[in-house]
């Protein structure tokens, strides 16, 4: 459903934020795009969303190329970002309505959808309170509902559990499980590796813009002979620091 082909982003002519990234994500699959800060995860998501034009390569969703029809692509994607804020002077109901109409829904469908989502995500208690007065967990739930308001086939999650406590993180994990069961293609960017192990089906390990390893947890463990994602990652960073910079740059993607 999601297909990236040699997607590359170069900033300021020499900074390769994302380097020839190719991957595919199918329906009902949760793909964990993992990597330390600055690995190129967020840049990749933004290129998929059409917010950033790639330097070369192409991203497509359901066969529709991002660079050729960014507006159509945006309709297919729900974006969840931990850092995303809410409009302080709006109530969750008004906010969800705004986004529903923004995604091109008819008002009566939007009304129905908000009703459904608030049942599913437990928003009823604070649906008509100002967003400024919501707790972090409540705000996070509104944020998740916002991403789903137009029922997109693809959901992109950027650090969805950052800054959340255990309960908050569980809400997110449950949310991802729900999405998987409703057959959506999901990409989760995170550096919370232990959490990722719990809900991702397949992983891509991104480092300095390049995909170093890709596969299921079992495949990765077998390939690297390491017991967990954290260990695999530490090994990766270790190898990297042992190598001279130039040879690291020349190393191919896995």
């Amino acid at each position: 459903m999601i297909k990236l082909e040699a997607l590359t982003k170069i900033y300021d002519q020499d900074v390769r934020a994302v380097d020839k990234l190719s991957l595919t994500v199918s329906k009902g699959e949760v793909y964990g795009l993992l990597g330390p800060n600055g690995a190129g995860k967020t840049t990749t998501l933004r290129m998929i969303l059409g917010l950033l034009p790639p330097t070369s390569g192409e991203a497509s969703i359901l066969g529709c190329h991002v660079s050729q029809n960014p507006l159509r692509i945006k309709k297919l994607i729900g974006l969840v970002s931990a850092s995303a804020g809410l409009y302080q002077w709006h109530t969750p109901r008004e906010l969800l309505h705004y986004f529903a109409i923004g995604f091109g829904m008819r008002p009566e469908d939007a009304f129905q959808r908000i009703h459904e989502l608030s049942d599913r995500m437990g928003l009823q208690r604070f649906l008509d309170r100002r967003c400024a007065t919501l707790s972090t967990g409540q705000a996070q739930r509104v944020n998740l509902a916002r991403a789903l308001v137009h029922d997109p086939p693809v959901v992109l999650l950027d650090e969805p559990t950052r800054g959340l406590d255990v309960v908050g993180a569980k809400v997110v994990i449950d949310f991802v499980q729900q999405l998987r069961s409703s057959n959506k293609a999901i990409v989760v960017c995170t550096h919370q590796l232990e959490e990722a192990e719990r809900f991702c089906d397949r992983f891509g390990l991104l480092h300095r813009g390049r995909l170093k390893f890709e596969g299921t947890l079992e495949e990765l463990k077998r390939e690297t002979s390491q017991p967990s994602l954290v260990e695999i990652f530490l090994q990766l960073l270790q190898e990297d620091s042992n190598q001279p910079t130039l040879s690291a740059e020349k190393g191919g993607s896995a």
Partner: protein, 728 residues
Amino acid sequence: MSSHIEADNKTMDDPDSDSQNTESKTPFSIAQQMEFTIKELRETLRDRRTIITLLVMPLLLYPLLGFVLRLVAFQQNGVKIEYRLAIATDEEAKWVSEAIQFGSRFVEDANETDSQPELQVFLPEVQEDFDLEFLVAESAADLGIRVDFKGPDSSPGKNATVQLFQNEGSSRSRDAADFIETRLAAANIELIKNWARAKSSEFELPIEQTRELLQPINKGSAILVLMPLVLLLMTVTGGVYPAIDLTAGERERNTMETLMALPVPRFRLLLAKYVAVVTVTMLTGLMNLLAMSVTLYALNLDKLLLGEGGFTIVLAAKLFVALSAFALFYSAVLLLLTSSAKSFKEAQAYLIPLLLLSIAPGLAILMPGWNLEGTSAAIPLINILLLSRELLEGTVRGLPAMVAIISTVLYGVSALSLAAQIFGKDAVAIGSRGRWHDLLQRPEITSDRPSLALAVSTLALLFPLYFIFSGVLGRGESEPSFRLVLSAAMTLFLFILFPLALLIWQRISSGPGFGINITNALFFVAAILFGLATWPWVFEIIVYANGLGIRGFDPEKIKDIEVLLAQWEKLPIWLVVLCLGVVPGICEEAFFRGFLFNGLKRELNATLTILISALAFGLFHVVLSGGAAPERLLPSTLMGLLLGWLAWRSNSVIPSMILHAVHNSVLLIAVNSLDLLAEWNIGQTEQEHLPVLWLVISAGILAVGTAIVFWASRKQVSQPNSAVPETS
């Protein structure tokens, strides 16, 4: 030819074929746009900080300002003035007092006892310490007077030499000296007259002089500049906070990214924000106007400042129109500046210099000699300040007022389109490039159409240029043939050469940039038919407009035009048709249905593209070298709609060029053959309508033309919304 069109259609039907247009079009839904705007208004108006600027500030400011104005106004209108005179001795003081009293009887303004200054005399207590010059120099007294009596007798009425000591740095001292001098001189003349008449009863003064005091027309003009300046600045203050909040605030709250993830072109999101900012700005303007009117009325200042008419509702409404135009402009500028800011702090740093800069023109026009005319009508901010002042003074004239409003609105549109270029670009914080200086950079890649921002900014620039050029042309006393050629050259420069330079600078291929595309020859046939048949309708609309009293020219201007027409009749008809028919037809189309049309088409649908380009075309035709011609707005806009429709249908500017050139030429030939028409009893007076038969025939031709256009574009119905086909 038809197979060529079909081949083009295939590429145009495919939305992916337009590689330049990265944001392909979605239908412009008004309901959706309303929802966007409501969200912005909600976010702004629920915020107490907005309400404070909106309501509380004017309520506090104007009463305060009112008291200051009252003080200044009353001072200007003559509160009793007092002159302090230093005189050394009692005798001198008595003598001076007597002489002034005597002289005052022969000074005209002495009869108005209300405005007579009071004289207060300082006499020394100890004669030795008394230093008259020092007292004046130190400003302890306004004027020193020393009287030397000629002879021993110092009684009043005796001859003496008077010496006045005036402080050079004090205007009051100068006024006091003038006051004394006038009266002593009057006394002198009267005494001489009496002496001479005693000698000879026939004596007459060689020079009799009187002085009349007149009320100045620009009474309190400093206040009349100050008032609009305060009003404008207070109005825009209302927009500052919402502008920052709705742009930089989105980033600071981390809501920009989710906003940009909406499947809506960025400029539509910005448009919603713009409408919200303009609404708040206009509400602030209205509140300020209200607070100002109430203050003027309550403190009884209206008649004092504005003369007998006082502050009427009509005047308030006119001021509100000027304020609204300014709000449209300034809100766009605010958004342009805040769109690139990443935080409140950064946005404030951009806006404070802007606000300070906005005060400067207000202070500049305090200097005498600034009037709303010519260039000043096209300078942003200054034009609206001058317009407001002239509205208050009651001296405003139609054409410059209209130019001031139209150019201000166009500058606003241009600033908004520039803001759309940078708004939301750095929603993606890393490596973002949403900064203003990018706007002036030459793009690295070539394209085949101007951007909306470039098209609209060029329109905004051309309007004042066109106005100024037309004004210069209208003043020329040169040969009629030279003027004709000059007018054609001006049209060529403004509508082709200037946009062409911009196209080259922006690496846009000039052919497609001007909309010059190959199209079906049938469109040319339709264009000729339209060109032949539209003029009777244009003529009728103008006659109707005149009948309704909509006419811009004063009788004197009409005489000038008649003289001009008479001169043209002596020129070869081909020159007139070339310079006023063909060249303007081609050049104006290259811009309005080419350059501008292409830019609009990039972001907007058919209806809006045709409508906006037609309206811009109509507005340009209101401004003529001789003055404003509001009766031309409707026919020119309607003509623009027809031309735009043809350009859209044919996907080329060439048919509309033909239509325009033919239409102009036919109209000119008709005017040139006025005598002939007169023979047929047509057009003898401007009010006379054309025969119904003519209108029926032209309607028939128009219908045939329309049918041909539909026939030619039968297979192109779905085409124009997408790309412009490549010319081979």
